[in-house]
């Protein structure tokens, strides 16, 4: 089922279209510590608990014992240009309970090692910049030895 407005077909328009449904589920890392058989999803606001159960059971063949949902209200913030207060869209979260012998662990998508390398690189860059700054300072003041730095103002 889809309630999206797709552009009318006109001559020369693309022949193949993908008609996306309103229903979608997005697996997210749980914010709270949970038992290993509970999985957290963000889902489309239109989905009911029955829809979520059917979606997982019919498409992915997942045995859902229990489905609980809640609607999360995000924080309000000021509009950067206009200054009035705006709110982001609400998010519906679904908590799926699997049979108790099943375990779900959220996958490590981006390895910790890459993150560490990035951090190291950043640190090195900062160190290099600091060194360069000091060298520039020495270069600038090479003909004014033993004078304090504030003297130049």
């Amino acid at each position: 089922m889809s309630t999206r407005w797709y552009p009318m077909y006109r001559k020369g328009g693309p022949q193949l279209r993908v008609f996306l449904p309103n229903f979608w589920l997005k697996l997210v890392r749980p914010t709270q510590e949970q038992p290993p058989n509970v999985v957290q999803f963000q889902c489309s606001m239109e989905m009911t608990q029955f829809d979520i159960r059917n979606y997982l059971e019919k498409i992915y063949k997942i045995n859902c014992i229990d489905v609980r949902t809640r609607i999360h209200m995000p924080k309000t913030r000021r509009d950067p240009g206009k200054g009035y207060i705006i709110k982001d869209d609400d998010i519906k979260y679904a908590y799926i309970t699997l049979p108790k012998d099943q375990v779900f662990k959220f996958p490590e998508l981006f390895g910790d090692e890459e993150k560490k390398k990035e951090q190291e690189l950043e640190h090195e860059r900062a160190l290099k910049e600091a060194k360069k700054g000091f060298e520039d300072y020495l270069e600038k003041n090479k003909d004014r030895r033993n004078l304090p730095s504030w003297y130049s103002v």
């Binding site: 038992p35 014992i65 609980r68 309970t97």
Partner: protein, 542 residues
């Protein structure tokens, strides 16, 4: 501190006159052969908090009567507490580990009742009563009865059927055994009594808001992940309960009680992650189905329905677990409430084990459980340190009969009747050399024992109001959504006058129970003294 309370303190200070009369005898007091130093105390935050709490718990223990103790437990919050609900009729999937954690119960793996029950011989009684039970089954299944709920649902063996069947069986057994067993003659029974119980359970992860609060200050950061206590509120739905004057004999051996080898499932999550619901503004209520001062204070037996096990998910999933969970929760809940009527509570542990017997049935399928409560102390650090465990024994589920056809009961199982009879015949006995109410005063055990009528009436009224769990007349304070957005999160109305509590750095929910004006006495009813004297009635907060 609110204004009324502040005024009260000021009044008290102004009126007081202090005289220091020190009788000092230097020759006697000044020198001793050994120096007396005050004890050296650990000044770490955790230890200080522990001592602070222990002081409050001692205060609760020293309160004289049952009613006063219950009021004392509620003193901290005028509007009540946030509670995690443990409903007998609502069992989310895989709830057994949580139930075991919050009641500190070891569930025996072998499906067998304790040895005590093997020694009780009821085979002749069972053959004697078999026909009567069969007749009751026939009457209840085929006879005319008002089955409102069952009719609406369109089922034959619904809650109404179960309720009627168990009540009839109970009546038949009681009337048949009363002659032979005097303790049954003395038993009190209640139909669908109100059973509510509230206790503190520790050892679980702190909720997000408390974590954030602890992270906000430098010195609390290291305690960020310390477990927090949660107030568990149990609401029971028994069909029928039986009470006696004396407690049932203990079933577990003494070595079992302190057994650390008794397994408890690991549970450190917030109970809400498995679908436990919470309620704000509930009071700490312990109602075991009778008022304080009742003579029959000990449990004998309780019957419970098992239909919710079917209803929770729409289909039967993991029924065995949900039955065990129900047995554990109902048995502990009822016993804990009874313990409160004897002067114990979450902070002052029971000094002797308490036992109850639980039957869960839908009329056809019967499960029997025996529960021994050894401890009710598992808040804060006791969750890890207390070696005691509560123990639950249970049988497999058994069928009382296969079906009914042509005015005859098919496949009657006498074993079920025998087990049930054993629960009745198991005689409550006096605990020799045990003071049943060590934390209650010797003179006054309940409010009615006070000779001061005004005091006992006041206590009774206050106690009944608290246990009713009715909300206050005045609507409680709330921060409206627009205020949260436009006043708290974004200060977009800076010209508004600051009048609301959150703008004055007050939290109305911090109010204590005694933070209120006492009842006013009209001038006409006051003695002829100065106008401002004796305006308010006396209050007796413990």
């Amino acid at each position: 501190m609110s204004l009324t309370r502040f005024n009260k303190v000021c009044r008290r200070l102004n009126g007081a006159r202090y005289f220091a009369i020190a009788v000092h005898n230097p020759e006697q007091d000044e020198y001793t052969s050994k120096p007396h130093y005050p004890p050296i105390e650990d000044l770490s935050f955790r230890e200080k908090l522990k001592r602070k709490k222990a002081k409050l718990h001692d205060e609760i223990r020293n309160v004289k009567t049952v009613e006063e103790k219950q009021i004392k437990l509620n003193m901290r919050r005028y509007y009540g507490f946030k509670c995690y609900m443990v409903n007998e009729g609502y069992c989310p999937y895989n709830n057994l580990p949580l139930a075991q954690h919050i009641t500190r119960t070891h569930l025996k793996a072998e499906k067998k009742l304790p040895q005590l029950y093997d020694n009780i011989d009821v085979s002749s009684l069972a053959t004697q009563l078999k026909n009567d039970v069969e007749e009751i089954i026939l009457i209840e299944t085929e006879g005319y009865r008002k089955k409102i709920k069952d009719k609406i649902l369109g089922i034959e063996d619904g809650e109404d059927f179960t309720s009627a069947l168990t009540k009839s069986i109970n009546r038949m057994i009681m009337s048949n055994l009363a002659k032979q067993y005097p303790h049954i003659l003395d038993t009190q029974f209640d139909f669908e009594p109100r059973i509510e119980s509230t206790w503190y359970a520790g050892g679980m992860n702190p909720p997000d808001n408390i974590k954030r609060y602890r992270e906000g200050r430098d010195w609390t950061k290291e305690y960020k992940d310390d477990p927090t206590d949660r107030l568990m509120a149990f609401i029971g739905l028994p069909i029928l309960t039986l009470r006696s004057q004396l407690p049932l004999p203990t079933v577990a051996a003494d070595s079992d009680v302190d057994g650390i080898n008794m397994e408890l499932p690991e549970w450190q999550y917030d109970p809400r992650v498995v679908g436990t619901k919470t309620e704000q503004n509930r009071r700490i209520v312990n109602v075991p189905g009778y008022f304080p001062g009742d003579t029959h204070r000990f449990s004998q037996l309780s019957y419970h329905k098992r239909h919710h096990a079917r209803n929770t998910f729409g289909e039967v999933i993991d029924e065995e677990c949900s039955l065990s969970r129900q047995a554990i929760v109902t048995s502990f809940g009822w016993l804990q409430a009874q313990a409160n009527m004897l002067g114990f509570n979450s902070f002052n542990d029971i000094t002797y084990p308490m036992i109850t017997q639980t039957v869960i049935t839908d009329g056809k399928n019967w499960s029997f459980f025996v529960y021994q409560m050894n401890t009710i102390l598992f808040h804060t650090h006791f969750a890890k340190e207390n070696p005691k465990r509560n123990i639950c024994w249970g049988t497999d589920e058994m069928k009382l009969y296969e079906g009914v056809s042509g005015g005859k009961v098919l496949g009657f199982n006498e074993e079920v009747l025998k087990t049930l009879l054993k629960f009745y015949v198991n005689e409550p006995r006096e605990r020799l050399g045990v003071n049943l109410t060590p934390f209650l005063s010797n003179e006054e055990k309940v409010a009615a024992d006070y000779t001061d009528d005004d005091k006992s009436n006041w206590l009774e009224r206050e106690y009944k109001f608290l246990t009713s769990n009715r909300p206050r007349y005045q609507l409680p304070y709330e921060i409206y959504a627009w205020e949260k957005i436009y006043k708290i999160d974004h200060q977009s109305r800076f010209m508004d006058k600051r009048l609301r509590p959150f703008e004055l750095f007050q939290n109305p929910y911090d109010r204590r129970l005694d933070d209120r004006l006492p009842e006013y006495i009209p001038r006409k009813l006051r003695p002829d003294v100065k106008r401002w004297v004796g305006r308010y009635k006396k209050e007796y907060f413990p």
